[in-house]
């Protein structure tokens, strides 16, 4: 679309969908904003007076807020690190010619098709359960004390579960990127005297940088709003040690029936998500223009 004419025609053509999407976003967003300034509790019907920033003050000064904030960041960061490092290694492995490649690839992708609630329950009951779980069996077999993962390392356990779910996604994207690596380039590097490690760091990693960026951006969007895994395993506890922002908003608005407070939390979450997004784009967005 290079000429003036084709550009304005293009704008006209896409305007219906842009307007629809805008309405789709703006209406819930403005309602949330509106509720966040009201005293609006479902247990106290009647007038919903305008209270200014009171809901925000409550939400931000709640001691749970700060721990939810750090939990969210630790969760996102931990899962990103595990999935990207693990994804690169798995992709390297799957890129090798081997017997039964097709089946192995499908097996690797499989966890992605399991619903979050289901996989979290499977992990909780079949692996991490301190009495019947597989890990407890293994610990007992080795003569160790079984470890109650969800009680003593709730956030780490949730990071593990979520990483398990997202690893296939990262692996898949990184594998396709890896397959587009020109083999002559690798051979040239080999002739230039680069050993396996040097080839990995000087050729493969730079080649993957764009794919890694895509994985980080997409996963961050989803990881900021992890919810089901927390709900079915720890319920945010013990205390608030595995509560993230999404879960805090849920606890505020639904467990306390406080629509106003929940909305304020939602708005805060949106602002924080945008801060994270700006940070990410500043840091790694340049990898996307080529």
């Amino acid at each position: 679309m290079s000429t003036q004419h084709s550009r304005s025609a293009a704008r006209l053509m896409i305007s219906p969908s842009v307007i629809l999407l805008l309405a789709w976003m703006i209406i819930p967003l403005s309602l949330t904003l509106y509720f966040s300034f009201l005293r609006y509790n479902l247990l106290m019907p009647g007038a919903n007076p305008f209270v200014g920033f009171e809901n925000y003050t409550y939400f931000l000064t709640d001691p749970a807020f700060f721990s939810a904030l750090t939990n969210t960041l630790v969760l996102v960061g931990g899962v990103l690190i595990i999935t990207i490092v693990g994804g690169v290694l798995l992709a390297l492995l799957l890129d090798q010619p081997m017997w039964g490649q097709g089946i192995v690839r499908i097996l690797v992708i499989a966890p992605f098709f399991v619903m979050p609630t289901v996989s979290a329950l499977v992990w909780k009951n079949m692996f991490m359960n301190p009495v019947n779980g597989l890990f407890a069996y293994m610990a007992k077999f080795l003569g160790l004390q079984p470890f109650d993962f969800l009680a003593h390392a709730p956030l780490a356990s949730i990071i593990l579960i979520v990483s398990w779910q997202w690893l296939p996604f990262a692996t898949l994207i990184l594998l396709t990127a890896m397959q587009s690596l020109d083999s002559e380039r690798m051979e040239a590097a080999e002739m230039d005297g680069a050993g396996p490690l040097a080839r990995f760091f000087y050729m493969v990693v730079p080649h993957l940088s764009r794919a890694i960026t895509v994985v980080i951006l997409i996963q961050t969007i989803f990881l900021l709003s992890v919810f089901a895994e927390i709900l079915v395993t720890t319920n945010g506890g013990p205390g608030t040690s595995s509560t993230n922002l999404t879960y805090l908003v849920y606890a505020q608005s639904l467990l306390n029936f406080d629509v106003g407070g929940g909305s304020a939390g939602g708005v805060v979450a949106i602002i924080l998500a945008n801060i994270v997004a700006i940070f990410l784009m500043r840091m790694i967005g340049k990898n996307l223009d080529a």
């Binding site: 020109d182 002559e184 380039r185 051979e187 040239a188 590097a189 080999e190 002739m191 230039d192 005297g193 680069a194 050993g195 040097a198 000087y202 050729m203 730079p206 080649h207 940088s209 080529a290």
Partner: protein, 334 residues
């Protein structure tokens, strides 16, 4: 430095024998060109020498030392790939520096060599650009630069010019020849371009299905092709090959006569035919002559411009001195 000996080197991919056992010696400082039809194993042979493929049998010696099991980086050879294989995320300078950096060379020596290579190859103006911002010819020069800074024992080129347009190809051909004249390093060059082979080589190796058909200087191959395959492959346009009674007169199965060794007359000569298509190049004219009763089509090359129209009768007279004779099995009779 740079004498390469192949001793019964063979290569199989699974069941398929791509290169049957083959002997070849490449002398120090020689410019050797591998030619042959597509799929005959030129690239495979080059990659065996480079060490990018493992041999299925035989021995490769570089400067007298057995290098059959030596990894590519340790053979002291540099390769220029058809696709250039530049590192897209590095600047031209970093690309050229890469082999030196991998060898752990001190910074100032690296810089000296890079600046030198950049000057020789006219790369100085875009030394800080990425490969994506260069033209095909410039990329090719970067690839050559990356090869020469290592000061290898031999250069391996796999069809390095086939992605370039005709004019650039002529220019780069000259540059590579000049580079060879200056460095005096062994070079092995794969191509299927006739002209590149004839103009650049000290020694041409003609391959067919992994076999060496003939090894010799360009003019040797042109003057005394050892068999029908080489006769048909070297020379452009192709040699006319005539079988049947005309060949029997000379006591052989096939006779061959190059288009440039036939003289043309409108009035008298040995063979009569009818002019078909003619191609006027200015310096030369190529005629395709039909109905001679010898071969389907005779090609004739006449210097300068000749006024003969399609459909005209024409008489052809071969230069008997320059006629080639081949026996039943296609081998040359001298």
């Amino acid at each position: 430095m740079g004498r390469i000996t192949l001793d019964k080197v063979a290569k199989r991919f699974g069941e398929v024998e791509v290169i049957p056992p083959l002997d070849l010696t490449i002398e120090e400082g020689e410019f050797v060109v591998f030619v042959g039809p597509s799929g005959c194993g030129k690239s495979t042979l080059l990659r065996l020498i480079a060490g990018l493929e493992d041999v299925s049998g035989g021995q490769i010696r570089i400067d007298g030392k057995d290098a059959t099991e030596t990894p590519p980086a340790k053979r002291g050879l540099a390769m220029v790939f058809q696709s250039y294989a530049l590192y897209p995320h590095m600047s031209v300078r970093k690309n050229i520096a890469f082999p030196l950096k991998m060898a752990g060379m001190p910074e100032d020596e690296q810089k000296r060599r890079i600046d030198n290579a950049a000057k020789v190859l006219n790369l100085t103006d875009y030394i800080d650009r990425r490969p994506g911002q260069l033209s095909g010819g410039q990329r090719q020069r970067v690839a050559i630069g990356r090869a020469i800074v290592r000061e290898p024992a031999a250069f391996l080129f796999d069809e390095p010019l086939s992605n370039l347009d005709a004019a650039l190809r002529v220019g780069m051909r000259l540059e590579i020849t000049e580079l060879h004249a200056r460095l005096k390093t062994t070079m092995i060059y794969v191509t299927h371009d006739q002209v590149e082979a004839m103009t650049m080589a000290d020694k041409i190796v003609v391959l067919r299905a992994g076999h060496i058909e003939q090894v010799g200087s360009p003019l040797e191959l042109y003057r005394t092709p050892r068999n029908l395959f080489v006769a048909g492959f070297i020379g452009s346009p192709k040699m006319n090959l005539i079988e049947g009674s005309e060949a029997s007169k000379h006591g052989c199965k096939t006779i061959g006569i190059r288009p440039e060794h036939i003289s043309v007359s409108a009035t008298e000569g040995m063979w009569k035919g009818r002019v078909g298509v003619s191609e006027h190049l200015g310096s030369d004219t190529f005629f395709y002559v039909h109905d001679t009763g010898l071969a389907d089509d005779m090609t004739v090359r006449v210097p300068g411009e000749v006024e003969l129209k399609a459909g005209d009768d024409v008489y052809l007279t071969p230069d008997m001195e320059k006629m080639h004779r081949f026996d039943d099995s296609g081998l040359r009779l001298s």
